[in-house]
Amino acid sequence: MGEIKKIDEVYQTLLKLEKRNRDGVSAQELSKELKADRANISRYLNELCRSNKLKKIKGRPVLYCSNKARKTEDTPAKIVSSFDDLVGARYSLARPIQQAKAAILYPPRGLHTLLLGETGVGKSMFAGLMHRFAIESKTIREDAPFIQFNCADYADNPQLVMAQIFGVKKGAYTGATQDREGLLKKADGGILFLDEVHRLSPQGQEMLFTYIDKGYFRPLGETEKRVTADVQIIAATTEDPESYLLGTFIRRIPMTITLPSLKDRGLEERYCLVYNFLKEESKRVGRSIYINRNSLISFLLYDCPNNIGQLSSDIQLACARAFLNYKTGNKKYLLISQADLPGHVKKGLMKLHKYREEIESLLQDKGDVLHFSPEDDRQEIRPEVKGTRFFYDIIEEKLNSLRQIDMDEDKINEILNIDIESHFQKHLENLPAVIRKEEIRKVVDEEVANTVDKILSLAAKKLKRSFDEKIYFGLALHLQKSIERISNGDKIYHPELNHIRASHADEFMVAMEAARIIDNKFGIETPLDEIGYLTMFLIKNPYKTRDKVQKKVAVFVIMHGNSTASSMVEVANKLIGTDHAIPLDMPLNMNPEEIFELALKEVNKLERSSSVILLVDMGSLTNFGEMLAEKTGREVKTIDMVSTPVVIDVCRKAVLGQDINEIYRSCRGNRYSPKLNVSQVKAVRSRQKNAIITTCFTGEGAAEKLKEVIEKELPAGSNCEVLPLNILNKEHYLAALKEYKEYYNIIAVVGTVEVEQEGLPFISAVELLSGEGLNYLKRVITELDVYSRIKESLKEHIKVLDSEKLVEDVRQGIINIEEALKLRVPAEVKVGIVLHMSFLIEKLKKGIKETEFPELKEFRDSYQKEMALIKKALVRIEKNYSITISENELAYLCKMFTRNQISGSTGGEGIEDDYAGLLGRDVDQPVSE
């Protein structure tokens, strides 16, 4: 009795839900609505289907609808079919599918169809689906035949092809000893698929057309008897539809369907295809397949002229290689990485710059390693669903889904660790919320961290503003120390307290509340001065408070190419609604001197005090900034490798009246790693002591804490001091910094809040604690140590010159050469080159004959440009030492730089490093300039 009631309840609920979801209702929805077990619901649903009250709709998830609902909209297009599972069914394949359905449903027995499309677009599969649809739509019987024949199979024997298709009468030719039925007859009641139909002989074509027009044919050798067959022909060809050959087919076959090639199907669909193939492979091997992000990107972007067929086989190849590595124990997981990809696939990654935005939005909520498991059938990728999700959410979700499939905890951990580790190597600005606490807890008590959480969420609510990582870190570090100080009874003094109170009343009020939270938590009494400091963390731009209104920074865009700069500027100006940015195009035949003169003229038109930001692409243009600054006495900053979004961003900030350094830094900030290049550390005197400055508002809180962290990590015996400094007052801070510069070689400033500081790398607390900042500092200090030892040792050997100055000049020369050639050589190689060049200069200075370079002429022919660039980069050395570096010597240098270069080396860490490995062997170097 209960059973019957329940089943009715399910039915009624379905009818109710159906009104909302016209497509149908899933068991899941019903179980949620009825708060009942899904398995039971499914059982009822199946029963209802059997009693013909409900209809099942194929798909995932399976949907159910009442027979009532379906009847009212029983239009042909509504028949749910296997077509709908195709990738791109609602996008690039929407029209072909619509045509195919029409061709099948056209009364009485469908239209003969010509399928066009390049090799590998999936014509055979599509024909197969048409057959299935014909069955699904009950146009043909359940057991209706689907016969496939490739006309190219016997193309050198046209007679045989015709015999295959149309059949043979006994005695039609020698060897035809009995009547034989053709495929056309065998396909009676169903579909005959003729692939590569253009390979059919003219006679065969004529016979086919006769059948198409009249519905009957004659087997070979048959003169009287006509054979009739009820067959729908689907003919396929790769021929260009414009070709003469196809003209007749298109005229005489009523329906023509063109399947798009892979490159016309867009990245989202390609992504789904790759996804499905990997999924299939994982089912095939019966275990999870992982693929790293770059390999996935390669699959999305490489030239794939043979379309889906090729994509599928290339993926299979990569899976097979990865499987091998896994089986042989080289890898712990079945992980597809660059090394497993066929060479032509790897090249795909080199197109990333063209599609970066699209790829990023496509993969934005994916980790650096993607996972495909044979069991998990959840369709993870739906092109229409897009959204930014935090790393944490992704991990959480993965965790849940992995648990659902009953994977054991250890394995889940391992999997998530892969995700997490690779995520860590990503850019710092993406530092996810979940990790920040781990990091901060290395140096700050958990209670302090939690309090900061509370304070910032309070402030965010009250001030209607969000606070970034830097503030979080800064405040946490600050609070840790100041709580200690207050507990110890140390005095806290804020010299600008009254100014802060007056000009930031809102923030001050919030800081008062924050102080109460702190007091309650730690049992202290926060003094008013400390509340002044807390206020400063909550102010939007602590240093903007007293700045005068600045003149707008002029923005020049200078690019190689006839109209590159103009078109970028046009976009930027249009979007911002100004004409602020000024383009200067540099056609390839224009020499750098000419464009420099043009730029100089433009800059001179500006108001006297305006500063200038140059946005350039590459090459000699990157040096214009310094030259312009020298010639005009203005402040000029250059940002290279500029893309349109950068132009827009810089232009917007300039129009808003932001300070030149602020704009420059914000651009640089996006590319933290590449810019923190050890080779760019300025040359220093060896006896000078190195120093790292740590900063915070007080100079005693976070700055002290950061000092502890750095000192603990510095290599033993390194010649480096850490000096804490307060940044409460910007002028005082800059003055103190200047003084330090007199005595120390300052390597970097590490702090909680960034203050404009000329020419010094800034490392934020978050960067430092995440490891990247520390690594940078260690690298720089090690290198400085090495060079000071080289200088000491050279002193014994090079007597005629000041070895200290010599080594510094040579180092600078090396940096210049690296920049001119747009490459980098490893640090160890650089040491060798320093020595080589030092002795070279000494030798030339002494007037000793140059060393001959074997086969100089041949070498020069291939490296003329590089040699000229090196010569130019060493002009200053030649001048200062009054020497001439000959072609022989240039050739040696050229070889050292070009052969030792770290490939793909203009970039920094991260993805570019992966590039480096990639570009090593079997891929061409990208052409620069």
Binding site: P826, V829, K830, V831, G832, H836, L840, K843, N900
Partner: protein, 100 residues
């Protein structure tokens, strides 16, 4: 008698290092022969040397030299850059002897 060869691009900076090592070798009375060569000359020594050390600036020769020399039993390596940069004959000799 073992032979150690140092190679740099033009044979210029290594010759100094070779002289330093030679001095150490004779002082210690070691049975070791030290020579310096340029890239071009190096090939002609194929099969006649026990250790070949490359200046860091010609690191790019490593693969080529290994292919050429290793089958003849020669050990090939790049000189530690700090030892090279400070022209530390003692350290370079040690590196070479450890390879033997």
């Amino acid at each position: 008698m073992k032979t150690i060869m140092l190679v740099c691009s033009a044979g210029m900076s290594t010759s100094l290092l070779v002289n330093k090592i030679k001095a150490i070798v004779s002082k210690k009375g070691l049975e070791v022969n030290i020579i310096a060569a340029s890239e071009a000359e190096a090939k002609s020594y194929q099969g006649r040397i026990d250790v070949l050390l490359l200046g860091p600036q010609v690191k790019f020769l490593l693969k080529k030299m290994e292919d050429l020399m290793t089958p003849q039993g020669t050990k090939v390596a790049v000189i530690n850059s700090l030892s090279y940069g400070t022209l530390d004959g003692e350290a370079v000799l040690k590196q070479a002897l450890e390879l033997l």
